[in-house]
C-alpha cells in the first residue's frame, strides 16, 4: 500500500516545486487574514496534489497495470484514501517550512502560525472533499469526474455563501447562536473528539462505497 502512495508522490515531483510557489503566493494573497491563510494554502495544495495523482493514474490507464499486478482492488482504494492524509501532511510541512524561511530571513511578510485547530480544520476539509470526490472518481475516472468536481466546489461555495443565507434569512443567526451555544458548553477536547469521530465515520462510509464501486469496475 505504501508503495502506491509513494508512487503518487514520486510521479508529481515536479508539481511539488510548483506547489511550494503556489503556497508562497497564497501566503502573499492572504495577508492579514489570520488562520485563513494557513487553511487556504494547505487545503488548496493538498487537494491539488490529490487531484493530480488521480489525473496521472487516469492518463496512464494505470487501473489496467495495477489490477494486473498481485494487488487487491481493496488495497488500491484504501491507499488512495490514506494518501489524502499523506498529502495533507506534506502540505502542512511545506507551509511550515515556508513560514520558518520567511521568519529566518525576516522578510516583511506576515505568516499565520500553525495551530492545532488549523490542522484539524485542514483534515476536516480534506476528508469532506475527498470523501465526496473519491467514490465519483472510482466510478467514472478523473476526466469525467472533472465536471463533477467543478460542481462540487462551486456547489459548496454557492450553498454556503448564497443559498443557505437566502433560505434561512434571519434564522441563520439563530442557528449560529444555537451552534455556538452547543459548542461553547463543551470543552475543546470533547468537541475535537466528536469531530474526529464524525470525520472517521464519514470517511469510512465513503471508503466502503468506493470499495464497492471499484470491485465491480471493468477496465
Amino acid at each position: 500500500m505504501f508503495n502506491l502512495i509513494f508512487k503518487d508522490i514520486l510521479i508529481q515531483r515536479k508539481s511539488l516545486l510548483f506547489g511550494v510557489i503556489y503556497v508562497f503566493v497564497l501566503i502573499l494573497c492572504f495577508q492579514d487574514t489570520g488562520i485563513t491563510m494557513f487553511l487556504t494554502s494547505a487545503i488548496g495544495f493538498s487537494y491539488m496534489m490529490i487531484q493530480s495523482a488521480c489525473a496521472y493514474d487516469d492518463k496512464n490507464k494505470s487501473d489496467i497495470l495495477l489490477n494486473s499486478l498481485p494487488i487487491s482492488r481493496n488495497t488500491i482504494v484504501v491507499s488512495k484514501y490514506v494518501s489524502a492524509f499523506v498529502f495533507s501532511g506534506i502540505s502542512i510541512v511545506v507551509y511550515s517550512l515556508l513560514t520558518v524561511i520567511i521568519n529566518l530571513l525576516k522578510l516583511p511578510i506576515k505568516v499565520s502560525p500553525i495551530t492545532l485547530e488549523g490542522v484539524i480544520g485542514i483534515l476536516f476539509a480534506i476528508v469532506l472533499m475527498c470523501g465526496i470526490y473519491f467514490p465519483v472518481y472510482f466510478k467514472i475516472g478523473y476526466i469525467k469526474s472533472k465536471v463533477y468536481n467543478f460542481i462540487l466546489i462551486f456547489g459548496i461555495l454557492f450553498l454556503t455563501t448564497t443559498l443557505l443565507p437566502a433560505i434561512l434569512g434571519d434564522k441563520s443567526k439563530v442557528i449560529i447562536q444555537i451552534l455556538t451555544k452547543f459548542f461553547s458548553s463543551q470543552s475543546d477536547l470533547i468537541i475535537a473528539i466528536k469531530m474526529l469521530i464524525l470525520i472517521i465515520l464519514f470517511f469510512s462510509i465513503s471508503c466502503m462505497i468506493s470499495l464497492n464501486i471499484y470491485r465491480k469496475r471493468e477496465f
Binding site: K61, I64, S68, E218
Partner: protein, 288 residues
C-alpha cells in the same frame, strides 16, 4: 501433465459483442498462440483471465486455482505483457521497477538487471522517452523478473519491427526450455506463431473455432485449388470457405484426405498458412 489455463464455458456479453461459451486448455510447458481477427474476442478473453473485467458465467482456472478466489496468488505467478504501454510515463525505468517489484513475492533485482543490460535499456530514462520497442522490452523484463510460470501476452508484437519481434520470439522459445513455464500469446501476426507455437487456439466472432496442436492443423487443413468444373455439392460440404474466380476456385478444407479422394489429381492441395485459415473462417462463404 497439468493444466495451466483451463477455461470452461466462459461467457461475457457487451453491447454488440459477446463471448459465447468458450472453452480451451493450455498444458504446462507449452506455447499457445491465440489468434483471431480484430474484435474476435482475444483481448476480452485475456482481460477475463486477468480479472480486469467480470465474467457473466463459466469457469477460469489458472494453475488449477480459481482466478478470482486466488487472484493474488495467481497473479504472483503470471508475467504479463500487453499491446500498449500501461506504465507511468513520468517515471524512469528504475523508479517504475521500484514501484512494481515489492508487490511480487519472488522478485529478483539480479534477473531484472540482467535483462536491462541484455536489452540495453537506459535505466534513468523516463518511460515516455523510450521507443515503442524499448517500452515493450521493459514490459518483458518486468514479466521475466519474478519467476513467473505463465506468461500472458496480448498482441505483444503489434507495432514492433521485425528485428525486435524476432528477439521476443527467441526469448520465448528460450523460456520454454524450462518445462515449468508456459506462454499464452495472442496475436494477429500469425507468422510469429509458425515459428514458436505448440498449440493454436482460434477465436472468431466470440466463439472458439478450434484449439489443437499446430501440427494437427497443418496436417488436416488444406488449401484446395483447381478449375471450377470440379466443384460439386459433395465436395462443397468439406469447404470452410471458397473463393470462386472466373475459371478456377480456391477453397479451404479441414479434411484434406477426403477432398483429395473426391477430387483426385484434378486439384492441387497446398498447406495453408494460419493467415489463410483465419481469412477463410472469417469470411466464410463470401468471396474471400
Amino acid at each position: 501433465m497439468s493444466a495451466v489455463i483451463e477455461i470452461k464455458n466462459l461467457k461475457k456479453s457487451f453491447d454488440g459483442f459477446s463471448l459465447n461459451n468458450i472453452s480451451f486448455t493450455l498444458e504446462k510447458g507449452y506455447i499457445m498462440g491465440f489468434i483471431g481477427p480484430n474484435g474476435a474476442g482475444k483481448s476480452t478473453t485475456i482481460k477475463l483471465i486477468m480479472n480486469l473485467i467480470k465474467k457473466d458465467d463459466g469457469e477460469i482456472k489458472i494453475f488449477g486455482l480459481d482466478n478470482i478466489r486466488y487472484e493474488k496468488e495467481v497473479k504472483n505467478r503470471i508475467g504479463f505483457v500487453y499491446d500498449e504501454n500501461y506504465f507511468y510515463e513520468e517515471l524512469t525505468v528504475t523508479e517504475m521497477k521500484n514501484v512494481i517489484s515489492p508487490f511480487y513475492k519472488k522478485w529478483s533485482d539480479n534477473v531484472f538487471n540482467k535483462y536491462i543490460r541484455e536489452f540495453s535499456l537506459p535505466k534513468d530514462k523516463k518511460i515516455k522517452e523510450l521507443s515503442k520497442g524499448m517500452k515493450m522490452k521493459f514490459a518483458i523484463a518486468v514479466a521475466l523478473s519474478h519467476d513467473a510460470e505463465l506468461f500472458i501476452m496480448d498482441e505483444p508484437t503489434s507495432g514492433l519491427d521485425p528485428i525486435i519481434r524476432s528477439e521476443l520470439l527467441d526469448i520465448l522459445s528460450y523460456l520454454i526450455q524450462d518445462e515449468n513455464k508456459s506462454v499464452f500469446f495472442s496475436t494477429h501476426i500469425t507468422s510469429d506463431l509458425d515459428k514458436i507455437a505448440d498449440y493454436i487456439t482460434f477465436i472468431n466472432k466470440g466463439s472458439i473455432v478450434f484449439s489443437c496442436p499446430k501440427d494437427d492443423i497443418l496436417e488436416n487443413y488444406g488449401l484446395v485449388k483447381g478449375p471450377k468444373e470440379l466443384i460439386n455439392s459433395d465436395v462443397r460440404k468439406h469447404f470452410i470457405g471458397i473463393k470462386e474466380k472466373q475459371f478456377g476456385f480456391e477453397a479451404l478444407t479441414d479434411n484434406r484426405q477426403q477432398v483429395r479422394r473426391i477430387l483426385g489429381d484434378g486439384a492441387i492441395i497446398d498447406k495453408p498458412s494460419l493467415d489463410d485459415i483465419m481469412l477463410y473462417y472469417a469470411r466464410g462463404s463470401q468471396n474471400v
